[in-house]
């Protein structure tokens, strides 16, 4: 197998032949640094001058042959896009990067599909590499037929393809007590979206037959952590799927190759990767990930357990701290764009505020609007160069509305860890710089 580095090395030779003016041209972009987001540290767009070298000069890619079609049997992103990557942090790692999470670059995400290489990855014991020939799915317990299925057996069932997001319920959890991250990737990057292909779990369970008192299902993976979780049979028979396809190809290893459970709209942790076993019972199991973790401690000292669904949510993705308005001139027209999603239904609408939530206007939804899917919203406005507190607030077809921070914490406190869906606010200053702030009651 050819190493990626070798492939790039070859291309590098071509790039050194670029005329110097062109190399300067590509160096004009700058690094986004952590800490204070200063205008100079963010990607700046190309500034156009008269008699532009980009037009008058001859581009090397237009004056010589490009790569052979046989160069990359599996294609790679443009080498210019190498900063569009998943990122991790020690803070969200249990001692190392085996039990950890890598965040999707939401600030660079386009549309409502996450490329497979950028899909966020939460593992509890590293990414397992399951041999598809040795893969077995066992279904047992309160079923009419206790069976073992190979991957080929499963693919004999009729397949369906659906677009669903997966979100870790700890997405945004670092902000329970106050704002801490000043970038969108770490604030909301514990989610991604894909078109999943597989069989409806109901089709399989109808074929195998459930006993009358099968109320709960255990789903377990074959990796070293197993990550067993209890799911009500009602969900299994509603819209749950056993999926082997992700955006038109086999699941990525990080997403549970060759088979994962998909429970649309529910906690990412319930979408068991490297699936090996489904057991049915009349009792819930109380696994480690549904007792010690994925429970929400309340002010009463009691914790909510088995809270499966991700609530209605949204965030403005442009502008954001990584993609501020520092290059806008006063009077420029600009689109405010963002993502809205709900695990309980379909997004019905999104409101936008420019003053921290005192007054709101309706944004437009755009593109496909599907249940339990990312939904894009848009609002076109004029940049007047005045500071603003920009935020979005979504609602879905259950009638549920995304809460303010105070609306949420007044009910569940700040020790829940999971299921934080409060409104995200960007403070934008005169320069167009964008920072994560909280609109919440606090002592000065």
């Amino acid at each position: 197998m050819k190493k990626i580095s070798e492939i790039f090395k070859k291309d590098l030779v071509a790039s050194t032949e670029l005329p110097s003016s062109r190399r300067e041209f590509f160096k004009k972009t700058a690094v986004y640094s952590v800490g204070a987001v200063a205008a100079a540290n963010v990607l700046s767009p190309v500034s156009l001058k008269a008699d532009d070298q980009a037009i008058i000069g001859e581009a090397p890619w237009g004056t010589k042959l490009g790569d052979l079609v046989t160069k990359n049997p599996y294609g790679l992103p443009s080498p210019y896009e190498h900063n569009n990557v998943r990122r991790a942090t020690d803070l969200l790692s249990s001692g190392d990067f085996y039990a950890s999470v890598s965040m999707t670059p939401i600030h660079e995400s386009e549309g409502i599909i996450t490329p497979n290489g950028l899909f966020f990855t939460r593992n509890h014991g590293g990414t397992a590499h399951v041999d598809p020939n040795e893969f077995r799915l066992m279904i047992h317990g309160k079923v009419k037929r206790e069976v073992v299925l190979t991957l080929e057996d499963l693919k004999k069932y009729p397949s369906e393809s659906r677009i669903y997001f997966i979100e870790c319920p700890a997405n945004g959890s670092t902000d329970w007590r106050g704002p801490q991250f000043n970038n969108l990737q770490f604030l909301k990057g514990m989610m991604s979206s894909a078109m999943w292909t597989g069989v409806m779990l109901k089709t399989v369970l109808d074929d195998i037959g459930l006993e009358k008192d099968a109320v709960w299902m255990l789903a377990e993976g074959s990796d070293n952590a197993g990550n067993p979780r209890t799911i009500p049979v009602e969900k299994a028979l509603d819209d749950a799927m056993l999926v082997w396809g992700q955006n038109g190809e086999a699941l990525r290893a990080e997403q549970g190759y060759p088979l994962r459970l998909l429970v649309p709209g529910w906690e990412g942790n319930l979408n068991t990767k490297w699936l090996k076993r489904l057991e049915f019972s009349d009792k819930p199991w109380h696994s480690k990930e549904e007792t010690s973790k994925y429970t929400m401690l309340q002010k009463s000292g009691k914790a909510i357990q088995y809270f499966w669904v991700n609530e209605v949510n949204s965030v403005v993705t442009s502008p954001c701290p990584e993609k501020p308005w520092t290059e806008l001139k006063v009077g420029d027209m600009v689109e405010i764009e963002g993502l809205a999603w709900s695990g309980q239904g379909t997004i019905k609408g999104v409101d936008i505020t420019f003053d921290g939530g005192n007054n709101w206007v309706e944004a437009k939804l755009k593109g496909l609007v599907l249940p339990k899917s990312w939904t894009r919203f848009s609002y076109i406005t004029k940049w007047d160069g005045k500071p603003m507190l920009l935020a979005s607030r979504s609602h879905d077809d259950t009638g549920n509305v995304q809460p303010t921070i105070d609306e949420e914490t007044s009910v569940v406190g700040v020790e829940s860890v999971y299921h934080r869906n409060a409104i995200v606010t960007w403070q934008i200053n005169e320069k167009g710089e964008c920072s994560n702030v909280h609109i919440r009651k606090h002592k000065a």
Partner: protein, 392 residues
């Protein structure tokens, strides 16, 4: 639109309009209703469509899969429930009981003392002495059930609590069954499923003892031996710390309904209001980042430039190192010399290569022999070579 003069006609027209719109509402409701188990919308397949997706509505019997054997199910079905279902009676291997010297199945049981020994050898390097944590991995002791009421650092609180809620085995975990199951299935972290059932009973007994948990009024001293029967009598301190009730034996479905009820009402988890004008009375309270978190891998960057890769060929032992050694030597919190830390490895190599090999193969400080990994002395030495080379 014309004005209806006759009020009687007007009334009937309104009635017709009402029934028409009612009929329309019902037609929509047939495709979706707020009855999903999560309190959300349940969408139904109708006229060959599920919401925006077309589907093939043909339903047939496939009879896919072959019957699972008893041995296969026994091998995989190792979960343990709070009522003791699944707790092993014997040591098991490959779906069958392990036989003792007398030819009978070997009873699964383990003492606190054995658990202590196993813990020190296989767990303490990550979870600290007596489960105290402090090395990046979770603490296994500490906190009290009472402290769970405390809300730490809420800026809205008048009196922020100084005693944070700590969610450890003793203060938070509702069931000991989870402890047994998790350890048997997923621990020790670098090589899970390696403990016998007896060893797992022993480690559970040890962890219960360091959490000061008693069984049937008995303190778990060193000689205490835990088995299936005693295990079933364990009551964890925070057993009643969770809601809603999902363990509804009389009517198993009631537990699911309890959960649906909770998730159906945002009042239980914090819902918003669709206010459009003058929603905040008074000044808008803005809270800025006080201490920014910024330890990222790789560092954030939105630059679009030609990627210049580091042209370093991977060391032949790198993969083996990552698989077998990195969980400790890649993590400063563990206390083992971290690969890449020049000072730490200078101290190691100062002992002389032969001593470094010997210490590693025999075990040193918190490190078990060869890190508890299965490999030849020769491979071990090669990996050490890689680690030394990478730390110069």
């Amino acid at each position: 639109m014309y004005i209806l003069e006759n009020t009687k006609l007007k009334a009937s027209m309104i009635g017709l309009g009402l029934s028409l719109s009612l009929g329309l509402t019902l037609a929509i409701a047939a495709d979706s209703s707020k009855t999903a188990v999560d309190g959300g919308i349940k969408y139904n397949t109708k006229d060959g469509k599920y919401t925006s997706y077309y589907v093939n509505p043909v339903q047939v019997k496939y009879n896919n899969g072959r019957a699972a054997t008893k041995k296969e199910i026994t091998a995989w079905n190792i979960d343990v429930m709070p009522d003791g279902t699944g707790l092993p009676e014997f040591d098991m291997k490959h779906g069958e009981p392990v036989l003792g010297e007398d030819g009978k199945p070997k009873k699964a049981e383990g003492s606190v003392a054995l658990g202590n020994e196993l813990y020190d050898a296989q767990c303490a390097m990550c979870h600290g002495d007596f489960g105290s944590g402090g090395k990046g991995y979770p603490s296994l002791v500490g906190g009290t059930v009472g402290s769970l009421k405390n809300q730490l650092m809420n800026p809205a609180d008048e009196n922020p609590s100084m005693d944070p809620p700590q969610k450890s085995i003793g203060s938070y975990w509702p069931y000991a069954s989870t402890l047994f199951w998790y350890i048997q299935d997923a621990m020790p972290f670098p090589h899970p499923k390696s403990l016998t059932n007896s060893e797992t009973y022993a480690i559970v007994a040890y962890l219960l003892s360091v959490n000061s948990i008693t069984i049937d009024g008995k303190t778990l001293d060193d000689e205490y031996v835990l088995d299936k029967e005693k295990f079933k009598k364990i009551v964890m301190p925070n057993a009643n710390g969770f809601y809603p009730d999902v363990d509804t034996k009389k009517d198993p479905k009631q537990g699911v309904k309890n959960m649906t009820k909770l998730m159906s009402d945002p009042k239980n988890f914090g819902g918003g209001t669709k206010c459009m004008k003058n929603c905040i009375k008074g000044k808008v309270p803005v809270l800025k980042i006080a201490n920014e978190l910024n330890d990222f891998h790789p560092a954030p960057n939105t630059k679009r430039d030609w990627f210049v890769p580091e042209n370093k060929a991977a060391h032949p032992m790198q993969a083996a190192y990552e698989e077998k050694c990195a969980s400790c030597h890649g993590n400063a919190a563990i206390g083992a010399p971290v690969v890449g830390d020049k000072d730490a490895w200078a101290k190691v190599s100062a002992k002389g290569l032969e001593n470094v090999y010997k210490n590693g193969i025999m075990g040193i400080n918190g490190m078990p022999p060869k890190g508890g990994q299965d490999m030849s002395d020769d491979d071990f030495k090669k990996i050490v070579g890689y680690m030394l080379e990478s730390s110069k």
